[in-house]
Amino acid sequence: AALENSRTLNQNKRTTYIVHMAKFRMPATFQHHSHWYDSSLKSVSGSAEMLYTYDNAIHGFSTRLTPEEARLLESQPGILSVMPELKYELH
């Protein structure tokens, strides 16, 4: 039971992902890319919120997702990749 609980916890644990979007493939029904990003995110998670929306460095956003939500998002149209956040260190 403890193992099962642990698995469930891990499955529900959210970590940060950076989502790369194919901005040039934005459906015409959206007036602004941020609305499209938001809609894509909402399609896999009702509660996840965007940390940042990126316009210049990448096209996309960062958010907190469970592994399952990340997997689902990756299969949505217009999503190029869903990358786990990395930690960097000072040199």
Binding site: T16, N56, A57, I58, S81, L86, E89
Partner: protein, 655 residues
């Protein structure tokens, strides 16, 4: 910084870097731990109005007012959403939720790149002189992305996003992560977008040397900077009871040791812990170290922390001995007690005495600051080394710059050791790392950008690389402190940066966005991976041959697969295109190769340029014989018109 401007030849060459308006309009963005805006390095005296194209802001937050920026420090932002999402809300009693630097690292790097001129700078009298950034009239914008718990890629990406929007000209990032493909690496991806906007991105190579394959930030659109020493040292001698003396280094300032020999003990014999020799917290037995000088071995914990541990246990002083991991590299620290660092050989000799004498004694003699140390520069042992583990066809690091014992601005909220117990406060601190060499190059790139506003980031990088030097004035090759022997392009890249020569290289290896897209195609990246990096609807042309060997990089890496090497020799052909950025000239090639197993020829051997921005292509042919896997050899291709020389290192690797 003090000394590095002289060391780099920036003094006495003021006429080569005219004090033009454009020079002060160059903006250096620094992603780091924030800034201490009250530092004298950010005094804006004599600077004109903030550049009209600047779109940045000075964001208010904990202990930081939006009005604190000025005409030098023109922007300050902070990015913490990713950090807080992972580690919880920032504890504002420990770190400022604002651009304020509570660490010192960010103030040091920002002032190194673009700090104003400050007379009478020193750390406790050490390294005293006039401090200045490499581009003292450039403007500085700070983006705080690193916190006590680290630097998170969602924050880094947000900062790069903003820096591009704000209109910085140079981005300086003294940070790195684990080795990963470019399309997974936020620094590489963000740097690509910055490069595309004409922003030169300079990054630290990492401090994982001297191991091979230890580099960070190896994307070809990034300028990757390793570290070398200066001609300056801070000697502090170990004088043993047997009359022997050993040289070390120290930045200690405080109550001196009694003017006599003191009892001496090896930490490993003053502890019950198995790693007692390392002077880890709580491992020393006070009764065994009290009133004595303690020899600790380097490793596992911070050097300055070992000093604090000895002091806490009642020790009077410390000798910190390098082990094999660090060899003879000496890094000076502002210890809390009289202490000096010695190399492995000295450390071994001192331990031999310590363990053989029934009543060993010692004292430490502090000699202050010495300049004119030779040879210099030498490659720092900690500086990360090639080959490039992501793309071996691109030789990295690109160059080295001063990164050992660098004095620059510091945060007022932390002592020079960074330890909580260190209540001292200093305006300047002396620290080491490729973090310190990176902003040197960022500042120099800003100087070049001011002098040549129309040059691309690739052209600026080419100028810095191809004019870097690989020999001392006497003709001997640059040395590597890790081996005590000549360093190689895997250690120093194209060599040590020489900004005065870089100002007028004559020729550059330029690269456009199409070249970089072709590079990604040559890597066989998928369409989705390329789109993630390049942010555009781009697909590689299936009918086109994309080649890494023809990518117009200012250096060469030849990788030989020994399992596929034909008997006899194999030929590799690389093409390069040089662009004239100087007066008309006829350049002749000169070639050198270390090994007869790696022959170099260049066709044509003479290139004549009559017009500005004229381009000429040449082919370098590398004829390689069989060697054992794991062998490396090096060579050089240099174009010269007698007045100027443009050199490229060649690295051969048999794998």
């Amino acid at each position: 910084t003090t000394r590095t401007p002289q060391f780099l030849g920036l003094y006495g060459n003021a006429d080569m870097f005219p004090d033009s308006a454009s020079k002060s309009d160059v903006i250096i963005g620094v992603l780091d731990t924030g800034v201490w805006p009250e530092s004298k390095s950010f005094d804006d005296t004599g600077l004109g109005p903030v550049p009209s194209n600047w779109k940045g802001a000075c964001e208010a937050g904990t202990n930081f007012s939006s009005s604190i920026c000025n005409r030098k420090l023109i922007g300050a932002r902070y990015f913490s959403r990713g950090y807080e999402a992972t580690l919880g809300p920032i504890d504002e009693s420990k770190e400022s939720k604002s651009p304020r630097d509570d660490d010192g690292h960010g103030t040091h790097t920002a002032s190194t790149a673009g700090g104003s001129i400050v007379e009478g700078a020193s750390l406790f009298g050490y390294a005293n002189g006039t401090a200045r950034g490499m581009a003292p009239r450039a403007r500085v914008a700070v983006y705080k992305v690193c916190w006590i718990g680290g630097c998170f890629s969602s924050d880094i990406l947000a900062a790069i996003d903003k820096a591009i929007e704000d209109n910085v000209n140079v981005l300086s990032m003294s940070l790195g992560g684990s080795i990963s493909d470019y399309y997974r690496d936020s620094v590489a991806i963000g740097a690509f977008a910055a490069m595309e906007k004409g922003i030169l991105v300079s990054c630290s190579a990492g401090n994982a040397g001297p191991s091979s394959f230890s580099l960070s930030n190896v994307a070809p659109w990034i300028t990757t900077v390793g570290a070398g020493t200066l001609d300056r040292d801070f000697p502090a001698f170990v004088s043993l009871g047997n009359g022997q003396n050993y040289s070390g280094v120290s930045l200690f300032k405080g109550n001196p040791l009694p003017g006599k020999l003191l009892p001496f003990v090896y930490a490993g014999n003053a502890s019950n812990a198995t790693n007692g020799n390392l002077c880890m917290t709580g491992t020393l037995i006070p009764e065994k170290v009290s009133g004595k000088i303690v020899l600790c071995d380097r490793g596992m914990s911070a050097r300055v922390l070992k000093g604090a541990v000895v002091k806490e246990a009642g020790g009077l002083g410390m000798v910190l001995a390098n082990t094999q991991a660090n060899g003879e590299e000496l890094v000076a620290d502002a210890h809390l007690l009289p202490a000096t660092a010695v190399g492995q050989k000295s450390g071994d000799a001192i331990k031999k005495y310590l363990l053989s004498d029934a009543n060993p004694t010692v004292t430490i003699l502090f000699e202050g600051t010495k300049v004119g140390i030779e040879p210099s520069p030498v490659v720092a042992a900690f500086s990360s080394r090639g080959p490039n583990s992501i793309t071996p066809e691109i030789l990295k690091p690109d160059m080295i710059a001063p990164g050992v014992n660098i004095l620059a601005g510091w945060s007022g909220s932390v002592g020079p050791t960074g330890l909580a117990v260190d209540t001292r406060r200093v305006g300047f601190n002396i620290i080491s790392g490729t973090s310190m060499s990176c902003p040197h190059v960022s500042g120099l790139a800003a100087l070049l950008k001011a002098a040549h506003p129309d040059w691309s980031p690739a052209a600026i990088k080419s100028a810095l690389m191809t004019t870097a030097y690989v020999q001392y004035k006497g003709g001997e090759k640059l040395q590597d402190v890790a081996t005590g022997k000549a360093s190689t392009p895997f250690d120093h890249g194209a060599g040590h940066v020489d900004p005065v020569s870089a100002l007028n290289p004559g020729l550059v290896y330029d690269l456009t966005i199409d070249d970089y897209l072709g590079f990604l195609c040559a890597l066989n990246y998928t369409e989705s991976e390329i789109k993630s990096v390049a942010r555009r609807n781009f697909a590689c042309d299936a009918s086109k041959k994309y080649s890494l060997t023809d990518f117009n990089y200012p250096s060469f890496a030849v990788n030989i697969d020994t399992t596929q090497l034909a008997s006899g020799s194999t030929v590799f052909k690389y093409t390069r295109t040089l662009t004239n950025v100087g007066s008309p000239g006829t350049y002749k090639v000169s070639i050198s190769s270390q090994s007869p197993a790696a022959k170099i020829s260049v066709e044509p051997a003479v290139l004549s340029f009559t017009q500005m921005y004229e381009k000429k292509t040449y082919t370098a042919t590398f004829t390689v014989s069989s060697m054992a896997a794991g062998t490396n050899s090096f060579g050089r291709i240099e174009w010269s018109d007698e007045k100027r020389a443009v050199g490229s290192p060649v690295a051969f690797s048999w794998n």
